[in-house]
Amino acid sequence: MRKRRVSILLILLGIVIGSLPAQPSPQEAKEIIDRVDRMLRGDSSVGRVEMTVATRQWKRTTELRIWSEGTEKVLVRVEAPKKDQGTATLRVGDNIWNYLPKIDRVIRVPTSMMMASWMGSHFTNDDLVKDSRLIRDYDIRIEFEGARDGVNVYEFLLTPRPEAPVVWGKIVYLIRKSDLMPVWGKFYGEDGQLKRLATFSDYQTLDGRLVPTRMRMTPEDKAGEYTEMKYRDLDFDLKIPENIFSLNSLRGS
């Protein structure tokens, strides 16, 4: 069971940060993230993602279709390979349901299993639920600004507020200054040890917005293992029918 949590929405965060117009003048760190957060809430998206999970024992690639609306609603359905086709996850608010076509059952994920792996990946169910609460839970400031490896970057340091219910001791984010594209995010435990590394690459324009189409998450305690999400296709601000985020639609009917 993987006990790390990072929002899958971090990808979306990255995407939205990327979609901001280039801001050469330095802004207050909090303002940037806050803006990202607000933009994310108003957003809806439909995308096709290729998820590759590599562990020491196996490596699998699945094709996912993802619908999202705001920060509260997500539906993910496996489209390939055939063996997993139709397997789906619905998240509404704090609840997660899984649909398993082989036994034709919808199963609600109990709170006790929130830290368990989501669809065999290095993400947990909890990562799905975690919406963009960075503004509320973390103090954000620019730790570094300037050239690094020949690229002008901002380095954001996110430290949890005293009463915030978070698992990370701190988060460090590196964002390109020119187009506000995320480069990497490092997630540290409360002991100060690096737990997770998220790296972003393959910046492309999808539906008119520049986004990092590839995100790889590497758990630090499992050498050689990773989960990679590759966006094949992404559409923003579509009107998604309300009934998409329902148990019926989860079953694929």
């Binding site: 069971m1 999970v53 562990t55 020491r56 024992q57 196996w58 490596k59 699998r60 063996k83 997993d84 397997t87 899984n98 398993l100 082989k102 036994i103 059952r105 919808v106 199963i107 609600r108 994920v109 109990p110 006790s112 299993m113 368990a116 792996s117 669809m119 065999g120």
Partner: protein, 415 residues
Amino acid sequence: MIVVRLGWRNLWRNSRRSLITIAGIAFAFAFTIALIGLGRGLVVQLLKNGTELMVGHVQIHDRDYLPDRDLYETIGNQAGCDWRQLIFRLKQNRQVVAVAPRVFGFGLVSTGDQSAGAQIIGVDPQAEGELSRLVDRNMLARLKPGSLLLGATLALELRAREGDEIAAVTQAADGTLGNELYRVQGIVKTGLAYLDRSVAFMRIDDLQRLLALEPTRIHEIAVRLQDPLIAPDSSREISRMTGLPEGVSVQSWRQLLPQLNDYLGLTGGANAFIIGLVVVFVSFGILNTMMMATFERIREIGMLNAFGMRPGLVLSTFLFEAFFLALLGLVVGFGLGALLMRYLSIYGLDLTQWTGQMTMLQTRVDPILKAVWNWDAVAGTAISLCVSTVVAAYLPARKAVRVDPVEALRAPVMQ
């Protein structure tokens, strides 16, 4: 020889005092035997419950399997092993009573609306019934293909009843989501709250299919022996067995149940403390007796000194007197202790008025405590009592024999 006979005779010169001292030693010894016997009784019971419930006395795993219970670390690694053959061979060992194979999985069990995390244990119903007492044999026999047994609290949480259909979902070995439907064949009360809350049993082949493990791959082989106390030897013997798969570790309950092993060490320490205490009390009794004995014979010692008897010999008579005192005390005490032990091992000490059903070190404890002989500790007590008696006698005796004959003869006559 004269010294020995003098010692023996001196013992009976004040027979009432000697008898009281003997009685003191005897009672101290008898109660120590009983107390240590009860302690051993508790250990034996904890050991019995701790091992017979589920663990067994010896277990075989892949070296990397414990403590994380990693799904992939099966016996014989990726390839697995011919575990049926291995079990057959283990059963050839004279000490081995029962052998059971197991597969462990962690996952979600769900009735649809209600789901909960569970530890799913794949068992061979027949073999498991012979090895462990966790689940009733008749209940295990109901474990047909495609069915499972649910822990009582877990069943309550899922609101599942016998005959209901349950979905089990787990992370399978090939990276897929293993999922399957099972029928609830029974609801089990193991007596251990943490297991009742989390456990589900199914047939070993069912669980292997759910986890996408090949039929050759199992996680654990548990072995039950005739005598749990020789488990470390047996586990060494088993680990030397030829044809054991690569990279396995064979462990006895001493490693598998470290708390129990620690508790055993603790009772050893407690026994030493009790023995020490008794020895100290008895020593003071002896010291007192021997001080009186030397004091009242001061004239006679002076006389012997004047005759030219070697002080060492005089001293020895006192030591032998003390020794006989201890010996008689021990013999009587042993008889008394044996009677006590007989009663305590048959009827036991009923603790129900102080405790109800007890759980200790995660095992059930019967509140009627039955004593079991702990010969090592009994022998240890006997030897320490003898030695301490002689030592206690030595101090006053040495002082007495150094007395100046003239002074001694002036001393008032006692008796």
